[in-house]
């Protein structure tokens, strides 16, 4: 039996990689993929806690997170496509309409 904190360590590592991707990359698509990685890291932690606690409610939570993530990806990619039509770019540093 693998101890609980090994799962938490993997989850934290994935979370760190996701945060680094969001903060360091300039491509909106790769930022979105990093967001998916962050959500998956939290899913892993929830499922691990659920198993080690003997409680199934955590898995229901993960089910809802997956559903919300699917909806979020669809809307986000539509926004990226609309932005690309407008500006011909997916670099977030070129999207400066709101800048003073």
């Amino acid at each position: 039996m693998i101890p609980l904190h090994h799962y938490l360590l993997v989850s934290a590592g994935l979370f760190i990689l996701g945060i680094a991707g969001v903060l360091l990359r300039r491509n909106a698509l790769i930022i979105y993929m990093s967001l998916e990685m962050i959500l998956n890291a939290s899913n892993l932690a929830l499922v691990a806690f659920s198993r080690y606690n003997g409680d199934l409610n955590g898995q229901i939570f993960v089910f809802f997170i997956i559903a919300v993530a699917a909806a979020e990806v669809a809307v986000g990619l539509a926004i990226i496509v609309a932005l690309f039509r407008l500006k011909q770019t997916t670099r977030v540093s070129d999207l400066t309409t709101l800048k003073l």
Binding site: M1, I2, P3, L4, H5, Y7, L8, L9, V10, A12, L14, I16, L17, I19, A20, G21, L23, L24, R25, R26, N27, L29, I30, Y32, M33, S34, E36, M37, N43, L44, V47, S50, R51, Y52, G54, L56, N57, Q59, I60, V62, F63, F64, I66, A67, V68, A69, A70, A71, E72, V73, A74, V75, L77, A78, I80, V81, A82, F84, T90, S93
Partner: protein, 165 residues
């Protein structure tokens, strides 16, 4: 057996995560992410969450990643040129890394709480998860369907071509 599989899966996942955020071409990133999500489904199986493992493969590795690849192909995104990292990004990720490492040291110092399977083995089969979803979590489950409908309408509105007026 279980331990070996866990270390293979998690090592591969962290390596693939690194590749996702470092590769220049978004198509490569997307392929690495699909592999990462498959390994995550493997970890779910090790945690006896069989229903979630199936859902993970179907929804993430299937639907979401197809959507990603489709958009990448549609936009014909070029390889990203090397750009100087903003100090804010480097500082931010260093801060998050430091915070999580600190948290782990505190967790290990206090001793990891071994809740560990005290009474019964919980197995996330479709039957068990479905029973919970349709009794205790019936309302959130129905609201999720509304959420998906809203997302669908939003996508249609967003990607509609504006009428020339």
């Amino acid at each position: 057996m279980e331990g070996t599989l866990f270390y293979i899966f998690s090592g591969a996942m962290l390596f693939l995560g690194l590749l996702v955020i470092t590769s220049r071409n978004p198509v490569n990133s997307a392929i690495f992410l699909v592999l990462l999500l498959f390994f995550m489904a493997g970890l779910f199986v090790l945690l006896h969450a069989f229903f979630l493992a199936a859902i993970q493969v179907l929804v993430y590795a299937g639907a979401v990643m197809v959507l990603f690849l489709f958009v990448i192909m549609l936009l014909n995104v070029k390889d990203e040129e090397k750009s100087k990292n903003h100090w804010f990004g480097v500082l931010g990720s260093a801060f998050v890394t430091a915070a999580l490492i600190l948290e782990f040291f505190m967790l290990l110092r206090d001793g990891v709480p071994q809740l560990l399977l005290h009474q019964r083995d919980v197995v996330g089969t479709t039957e068990a998860v479905g029973k919970l979803l349709f009794s205790k979590y019936l309302l959130p489950f129905e609201v999720t369907s509304v959420l998906l409908l809203v997302a669908m309408i939003g996508v249609v509105v967003l990607s509609k071509k504006e009428k020339p007026s």
